[in-house]
Amino acid sequence: MTEAQWRTLMIAAQTGDAAAYRRLLDELGRWLRSYYSRRLPSAMVDDVAQEVLLTVHAKRHTYDPSKPFGPWLAAIARYKWIDRLRAMKDGLTDELDEGLAAPDLGEAAHSAYTLDALMSRLKPAQANAIRLVKIEGLSVKEAAERLGQTIALVKVNIHRGLRQLSELAQAESHEF
């Protein structure tokens, strides 16, 4: 289905056409799963895609029928993606004091192509600390030994790196 067809369905949905809306949400669900599978750990994909469908429902009045539908949907999807990255960062930051091991996230992060692309823009010390602790699942102590840094410095690098990652993701979304 083309973007123009999505637009037609959305305009119909705004007037209360439930059949058109059902078709649209079905299409959007597929597109969103594909969108997030390249950007988030696989365990989160369905959850975030459903959250976006709920948002599309709640904010459907903000779509201007005179404009293309794609950028509107992409803006919402990106907003929720950044939101999720921030939440990941906050959640991970909370763990900093307790050992920082997050093996499930590490495995998932391997599949997050865009996340990797963003990480390549971090300082090497920050990217290495995040990779070792968050992706490979090493403890902070093990990472510190491998990197030849103090434990405190590894924690600081992870914290700053994740914050930078969130900012990069947001900046990238507004350049689009």
């Binding site: 705004q14 669900g29 459907r60 009045h61």
Partner: protein, 213 residues
């Protein structure tokens, strides 16, 4: 919950909606501003003293500067409630407008000679009164913009909250010009800026909590 169940529920909840219109939101804000100004005149807080307008050269500068900043920031803030709108360019323009307005004001007065002259001209007890009045008068447009923001879907909250704060603050200062007896550009730039900063900080704190989606 499966996708099918969610889609069934959302389609079942569907009711017709009227798409958000930029000019309706602009109209609501103009109405709030007009009502506030009318009330200030009605209770006698503000007055249109022609003698003061003629004898105080800064009145015209204040009204034009704050009016332009308020309208430009308000329009950009309302536009930024659209998820596809990027406010980066608007903020650059606004920064330029604000700089021109401030520099324009400095040309209307002279710089103080010495610290004691500076303190005297700043008249901080009066200044705090001015700043707090501006912050208070900014409240109605601030609330209005935050409610419109909640109804919209701003995707760049950092810039949106700055625009909302600037628009409300500039409007509060604009309304206060009709009640402000002071004419020294140094006093005005200092204390009006402080009053506006308070509103911008309030918007920075409140908007993400109110308009988060």
């Amino acid at each position: 919950m499966s996708f099918e169940t969610l889609i069934d529920q959302l389609a079942g909840d569907l009711v017709p909606v009227r798409p958000r219109r930029l000019w309706v939101d602009v109209g609501i804000m103009l109405l709030i501003a007009a009502i506030e100004l009318a009330l200030l005149f009605a209770i006698g807080f503000a007055n249109l003293d022609m003698h003061r307008l003629e004898t105080q050269p800064t009145v015209g500068w204040r009204l034009v500067s704050l009016g332009v900043i308020s309208v430009a920031a308000g329009f950009a803030a309302i536009r930024s409630f659209d998820p596809t709108y990027s406010a980066k360019g608007s903020i650059r323009w606004l920064a330029g407008i604000i700089a021109i307005c401030v520099v324009g004001g400095l040309f209307l007065g002279t710089l103080p000679e010495g610290v004691s002259a500076l303190l005297q001209r700043l008249a901080w007890t009066n200044g705090i009164g001015c700043a707090s009045h501006i912050a208070l008068l900014s409240t109605p447009p601030l609330l209005g913009l935050m409610l419109l923001g909640r109804r919209g879907a701003p995707t760049d909250m950092r810039r949106t909250r700055l625009l909302v704060g600037l628009a409300a603050a500039a409007w509060g200062a604009f309304a206060f010009v009709f009640a402000c007896p002071f004419n020294d550009p140094l006093f005005i730039i200092t204390w009006y800026s402080l009053g506006c900063t308070a509103t911008v900080l309030l918007a920075r704190y409140l908007l993400p909590r109110i308009a988060r989606w």
